[in-house]
Symmetry: C2
Subunit: 339 residues, 2 copies
DNA sequence: ACTTTTCTTGCAATCGTGTGCAATAGCATT
DNA sequence: AATGCTATTGCACACGATTGCAAGAAAAGT
């Protein structure tokens, strides 16, 4: 690999002059500057960022920790974050924390070792696993913003979607359509999911709609979602609408309903949450809650950049909240008349 | 940020000793080693990878260039690559080249500047944009493996899926089911798509099935896919099967068919390509071509690691090909009897 | 007691850039 | 001609870690 020194030798000057020439410093004679620049570009010189980073004590890189990227929610987020980071002149160091317990800590360690300028942490379903690591990082002054629904993080910068409001809007929508027997179906709930449910249930309560236990189904695997759907259909009084609290779940539910010969929305209303691209790929296109991911990404990156660039880092922790909205598509209809 | 020197001062030794102690070198007295290790961990010392990388002239990082991550094909690939890289002890530097023409070059420049140990390049729909950059990189000895369907890359290491075989298998499947009027629908084709079509057409040819121009629809946007579907349905003799050569397209097609009151597979057979998770989310679950992404990722990373670790870098370029397989699900049925 | 070996440690150079400071030369000012 | 100013360049150190080499002490051998 070719260095400043190599160029310097060719040009018959010192490496300092080359460094300055390539930085377009006014401290270099205009002609030699030009000459060096041409020489360097011909030689295919490329600055060694590692050395530069060491000297500059900054890497112009932000670390992004995300549980996985096979779950379609995250890629959308990653794409937005990557674009924003690039715009701001930062590289992205992606770390996938997976579902493994230790991995989240390992990711943070690695990012710290690599001296990223700041860290964006998206906690997974199991919540904030590496709590002590995060606290240590924050204490040592590494800019860090947390996304997600984790408790006891008042001392950290956070960005969160107001899932309760989303759930509320969704329930309201179903009630307005006339539904009274509404089921909830999902995988093991974590904090964010919990908020969705709370909001949803609050709206039901206000409308005087009851939610018997038989209409609340928890499934762990895809196959269990199938069994859950069958279970709901087998009830003496089956629901007229199902709230699957993630779009991918809703897609599965629609699939299993189709297996049972039930068409959506004619015979059953289904709604999801998050408004992933997936929601427009399935048929019927899904009514869901959306519009929050973009502002979440914007706030996420924006807050981190503020922390990185601010000289005074000890302002009070911020908690930014983004409100999602109802996205009405084709998966809902009024309930059929009872016969 | 705390350095070796700081620990050294606390321990009353030189920084060299600390370095050796933390590396668990046998050149340090067992007791002092222990003492230093404890001291360092208490102080929360974390090695500065930037400095270490500079000295080691290696970063234990591989760069991954991917067009985007919002197209569901890529996240699956990224996830697999990330997992493999981590297993091998490498970090991942993700770069999104987007659709912009210059961006691909910029990504490569950036990765080279950061002195990644090797580069994985996935070319986008428009083919290999940064051809001269890639050649320069390869010539300068940076390990680089290319994925994708790009012409004139015999001098580079490549990993490719045998899309022609996939297309062939798909057509065969449709023909066996009895279909004779089969439409092809897709977005602007690039090289990989081209192979899919060639294989597909070859199988049709062999079976003596003709493919009139009216049954080949190209769409640029999602909306045009809708118009394309309408167009096909409006034909005097509409097709009995549609090959949408990406799963996401197939999903859209099924959606538009539903809009027109056509049910899949009873009234129309639809097949896709790639076997994304999406294929099981939509209903009916999609018959498609799959199983290639995992081995693609394995070969991709494996070949790069071989190049990185091999002392002799001038072996002949390799071209690894992965054969995909037919995945039969629920989106196909024999054609209806003509009335 | 003297030499040789073994352990342990520190010195100093290195990786490639960036930059404060000093040095030199050229030119203008008086 | 002496002085001051400016433009240009190089020296040398710093960033934080690794590592070959030498040095010193302790132990062992004769």
């Amino acid at each position: 690999m070719i260095t400043l020194e190599d160029i310097a030798r060719q040009a018959g000057v010192s490496h300092s002059t080359v460094s300055r020439a390539l930085a377009d410093s006014p401290l270099v004679n205009a002609e030699t500057k030009k000459r060096i620049q041409i020489l360097a570009s011909e030689a295919g010189y490329q600055v060694n960022q590692v050395a530069r980073n060491l000297k500059a004590r900054s890497t112009k890189t932000i670390g992004l920790v995300v549980p996985e990227v096979s779950n379609p929610y995250y890629p959308k987020l990653v794409q937005l974050i990557a674009d924003l980071a690039r715009e701001a002149g930062y590289s992205l160091q992606l770390q996938l924390s997976g579902t493994d317990q230790d991995a989240e800590s390992a990711c943070l360690e690695s990012l710290r070792a690599q001296r990223v300028d700041g860290i964006l942490l998206v906690s997974g379903e199991s919540g904030l696993v590496a709590r002590e690591h995060v606290n240590a990082l924050a204490a040592s002054g590494v800019p860090l913003v947390l996304m997600g629904w984790v408790e006891s993080t008042e001392h950290l910068d956070t960005v969160t979607g107001d899932d309760a409001k989303g759930g509320y809007a969704l329930a309201q929508h179903l009630i307005r359509l006339g539904h009274r027997r509404i089921a909830i179906l999902g995988k093991r709930p974590h904090r964010g999911i919990y908020d969705r449910l709370q909001g949803f249930k609050a709206a039901l309560d206000e409308a005087g709609v009851t939610l018997p236990g038989a209409l609340q189904v928890m499934a762990k695997t895809d196959a269990e979602v199938g069994r859950g759907v069958a279970q709901l259909l087998a009830l003496p009084e089956p629901p007229t609408a199902i709230f699957a609290y993630q779009d991918s779940l809703a897609a599965l539910v629609i699939g299993y309903l189709a297996d049972a010969g039930i068409s959506v929305p004619q015979q059953m209303t289904v709604v999801g949450f998050d408004n992933l691209d997936l929601a427009t790929y399935i048929s019927p296109r899904l009514t869901t809650i959306g519009g929050h991911i973009e502002p979440l990404a914007t706030q996420f990156v924006g807050l981190l950049l503020e922390r990185i660039q601010k000289a005074a880092p000890d302002t009070a922790p911020q908690h930014r909240v983004v409100t999602p909205q109802l996205v009405v598509r084709k998966s809902c209809a009024p309930p059929r008349e009872k016969k």
